[in-house]
């Protein structure tokens, strides 16, 4: 019994010692702390962690399975979002949130149709249902979204902090295309169809 107890005591002592060990044992760091000892130590460069590095989205898979390429677009001098003329291409407003950003809107818009190409893939947005899945990817990331709402708004002026593209608020994917009525004498389509989708999980590295 006594021997056992002693052994146990030793064992505890031994297992505790390593905890102290590094502090007293690592002479170059803690022991001396002199300039001479430490001068060769390069300061560690802090690592960026906690979240993925956000990236520009480059593609989206719509609920009907169609995949649409996304280009980075800006705003023209008239204040119009510079959506690609090709109905098969969508435009992401580069001032908005990227894939992997923790908050705010990622605005992606595409033409619903064109006189030369007919209907574009974004026309299918006019019939999405709640919960439909959307998949967005960038060069190195992908993220799943689920449709939360579909609404129409007049194709009028957007505010500077419009919910459609504002970096404020909860993370969301905002897909926009045009919707009827179509009035050629009043500039064409009168409405925008807006699909808002919320993330299902975080943006993760692509396999």
């Amino acid at each position: 019994m006594t021997a056992l107890a002693t052994l146990a005591g030793c064992a505890v002592g031994a297992s505790e010692r390593p905890a102290d060990g590094p502090a007293t044992g690592s002479a170059p760091e803690a022991g001396t702390g002199t300039a001479a000892e430490a001068s060769s130590t390069p300061a560690p460069v802090a690592q960026r962690v906690g979240a993925v590095v956000p990236q520009a989205p480059v593609g989206v898979q719509l609920p009907d399975g169609r995949r649409v390429g996304i280009r980075s677009v800006g705003t023209t001098t008239n204040g119009v979002l510079d959506v690609p003329g090709d109905v098969e291409q969508a435009g992401w407003w580069t001032g908005g949130s990227r894939l992997g950003d923790p908050l705010g809107a990622t605005l992606v818009a595409a033409h619903v149709d064109s006189t030369t190409q007919g209907l574009g893939p974004f026309a299918s947005l006019l019939s999405v249902r709640r919960g439909d899945r959307l998949y967005v990817w960038s060069d190195g990331l992908r993220q799943t979204f689920a449709v939360r709402s579909l609404w129409l708004r007049p194709r009028g002026t957007l505010g500077a902090r419009s919910w459609l593209h504002s970096p404020e608020g909860e993370r969301r994917l905002v897909l926009v295309t045009c919707a009827g009525p179509f009035d050629p004498s009043a500039g064409g389509y009168q409405n925008l169809a807006v699909v808002v989708a919320e993330p299902r999980g975080k943006a993760v590295p692509r396999p």
């Binding site: 803690a30 460069v45 690592q47 500077a160 459609l164 050629p184």
Partner: protein
């Protein structure tokens, strides 16, 4: 060497103390005189600010053997200094101990060299380099860098009620672009919901700025604090669209759209 307080280590369940309001010390960037000089020689030099994040210590700071500033209290920032590209020795001393690290400076880039405590209670001061993320920032946005330089385990960061960063350990940082304006930020023990280690703090971020937040101190003895440093950043210059025009052929003119909303 310096005397260390081990008392806090035994106060295992003292996390509840941490909910209190932390003091926020603001360190504004650069003396006005230093700026034009930095702009002129932007390509030829690197910009380095030295942040004194060791609680309750007063340090003298030297670069390459020459004292730059003495009597640097907790939360104070030396510089930014324009340094030639290459290796430089940064030495800090609190009178009882002296610590030196080499810092690699790149032309045209800026970084914060931060003297801080490691995660362990009573650990000796450590020098870490936090590079300044320099990508352009979108209009109406501000960049936040949250750095863990405190005597505590890995943490999660909650912004406006949402966990936006997870598992950041001492000597690491997280970074995000968020909307300019007021935000509420807290630091929680990683993976745990409940009492914050720090905060909630109200921060107001101006558009086009970079705000570095250094968490310092020890939540177990109520000494948590933040050092906040704000500097300008490159704006992307892209205005928000006021109009979206996405169709021209009238092919969906008669399509009935069944709208829905909500969660």
């Amino acid at each position: 060497m310096r005397t260390r307080t081990f008392r806090a280590a035994t106060a295992a369940a003292a996390l509840a103390v941490a909910g209190g309001v932390a003091t926020v010390s603001f360190a504004s960037d650069a003396s006005p005189a230093a700026r034009p000089q930095a702009a002129q020689a932007q390509a030829a030099v690197g910009s380095v600010a030295i942040v004194q994040a060791v609680p309750k210590a007063t340090m003298s700071v030297s670069v390459d053997g020459e004292q730059v500033q003495g009597g640097v209290a907790e939360g104070k920032v030396v510089g930014p200094l324009d340094l030639a590209p290459g290796s430089h020795e940064v030495t800090v001393s609190d009178g009882s101990g002296e610590w030196t690290s080499t810092v690699d400076v790149q032309a045209g880039e800026s970084s914060d060299v931060v003297v801080h405590r490691p995660a362990e209670v009573g650990g000796t001061p450590t020098i870490s380099v936090f590079p300044t993320p320099s990508e352009p920032i979108g209009p109406g946005k501000a960049r936040v860098v949250l750095a863990h330089t405190a005597t505590t385990a890995p943490a999660d960061v909650v912004v406006d009620g949402q966990t936006v960063f997870t598992n950041i350990a001492n000597g690491e940082f997280a970074e995000a672009d968020v909307a300019a304006g007021p935000h509420e930020v807290s630091l929680l023990p990683a993976g745990v919901k409940g009492s914050p280690i720090l905060g909630p703090l109200d921060v107001d971020l101006a558009a086009g700025t970079l705000t570095a937040v250094y968490a310092v101190g020890n939540p177990q003895d109520g000494s948590m604090n933040v050092i906040v440093r704000t500097s300008g950043a490159t704006a992307s210059g892209d205005e928000a669209p006021t109009e979206i025009d996405t169709g021209s052929a009238g092919l969906v003119d008669g399509v009935r759209v069944w709208t829905f909303s909500g969660r």
